[in-house]
């Protein structure tokens, strides 16, 4: 029965082909460092799921953001767990993204024909850092407020365009409700959309080009 249902679906959707090309593809003999990309993808998915759950209670308003986060942590069943996963997952993701980049760099896996995989990877690193930067403000506590004050001030030190960038990031002179709202928007809509598109290209290229073997001596 299940086999027949699967055959019916497979005939129409090509599930076996998808499985064979994405998961059953040939790979060279590699080591554990080659799992860092998958680990990052897993963390990204977890961040997406826990992030969606956090928006059930979180309110991006200066008067309610801090209280709503407190509510998640103290009153909602397993709120501490959902936020905990999101909090630590964010930190861990920056680590795995970075290690993944180091692996790619030291094994020379960015070379022809994988340049575009590397370039999308660079943008994925930047978007991940952007997610960390915008997400950090959302609890709207003292640490978040001053970290963002400092972070946006650093952006303000860019030659010529600096003050202009700083004003755009903050949505005005100083941190305000506008800053919180735009950081929230960037954190849950703009950056995740960019992330999703980039991951799509990145994974397509990994499947299309295959992964490189570990370089041998003299290569």
């Amino acid at each position: 029965m299940i086999a027949r249902a699967y055959a019916w679906l497979d005939h129409r959707l090509g599930l076996t082909t998808i499985y064979a090309t994405t998961l059953d593809r040939k790979v060279p003999k590699v080591n554990w460092a080659f799992t860092l990309g998958s680990a990052t993808l897993f963390l990204a998915v977890m961040q997406g799921i826990t992030g969606i759950f956090l928006t059930v209670y979180y309110v991006p308003h200066p008067e309610q953001a801090y209280d709503s986060v407190n509510y998640i942590m103290n009153d909602v069943a397993f709120g501490w767990l959902i936020r905990g996963i999101h909090h630590w997952g964010a930190t861990l993701m920056v680590v795995t993204v970075f290690l993944h980049m180091l692996r790619t760099f030291f094994y020379g896996a960015y070379k022809y024909p994988r340049e575009i995989t590397w370039i999308t990877g660079v943008f994925l690193l930047l978007v991940t850092l952007g997610m960390g930067f915008t997400g950090y403000l959302l609890p709207w506590n003292q640490r978040a407020y001053w970290a963002t004050t400092v972070g946006t001030s650093i952006a303000g030190t860019v030659p010529l365009a600096g003050p202009w960038i700083e004003r755009i990031l903050r949505g005005g002179e100083a941190l305000s409700a506008l800053t919180l709202a735009r950081f929230f928007s960037a954190h849950i809509w703009m950056l995740p959309t960019a992330l999703l598109a980039l991951i799509g290209i990145h994974l397509y290229l990994v499947v299309r080009l295959g992964i490189s073997h570990i370089p041998k001596e003299g290569e």
């Binding site: 209670y57 309610q64 009153d75 909602v76 069943a77 397993f78």
Partner: protein, 164 residues
């Protein structure tokens, strides 16, 4: 394939598949079950704090004329203090008997209004009509207006508010 593995009836592939299924299932349960609790948590929290609210001194209540008394109750809901408004119609008979009714329509919870010209309670949402004693005259309401428990202490009418 090594003969020994096949003889034991469990190939390496099957073992790995099984272990992955068990591990994946465990991870899904550890994350998935709390997620359900997380979503429904506020709905499970019941604030069963019933109070007696002093409505009015009895001498202020007109005889044989449905009169609306309103009050609001503030409660901590989530991370905010939310005020809930209540309206109760009091009908005092000539024999000093009191009938207290909620002004919440029994159809879909709009607020009913006493109309002096019609001599009935009218619900503006779907044209429900209730008689002076709260019974349904016409329209969609399935049952009479809800009566509210009340008492008189030291010349003051109190009503019993049960829900939040």
């Amino acid at each position: 394939m090594a003969g020994g593995e096949e003889a034991s009836g469990l190939s390496r592939r099957k073992f790995v598949t099984g272990m992955l299924a068990v591990l994946g299932g465990t991870i899904a349960a550890v994350v998935g079950l709390p997620a359900i609790g997380y979503l429904i948590a506020p709905a499970l929290k019941r604030s069963r704090t019933d109070i007696w609210v002093p409505l009015a001194p009895v001498e202020n209540i007109p005889v044989d004329q449905p009169t609306l008394f309103t009050f609001s109750r503030t409660q901590r809901v989530g991370w905010e203090t939310t005020a809930t408004s209540y309206g109760m119609y009091v009908l005092r008979s000539a024999e000093d008997r009191y009938q207290v009714m909620s002004n919440v329509c029994t159809h879909l919870a709009c607020r009913v209004v006493w109309k002096d010209d019609l001599q009935d309670y009218t619900c503006p949402c779907h044209d429900g009509h209730f008689a002076k004693d709260g019974s349904v005259i016409s329209g969609p309401p399935p049952r009479p207006l809800d009566s509210v428990e009340h008492k008189i202490e030291e010349g003051t009418l109190y009503v019993h508010v049960v829900e939040a």
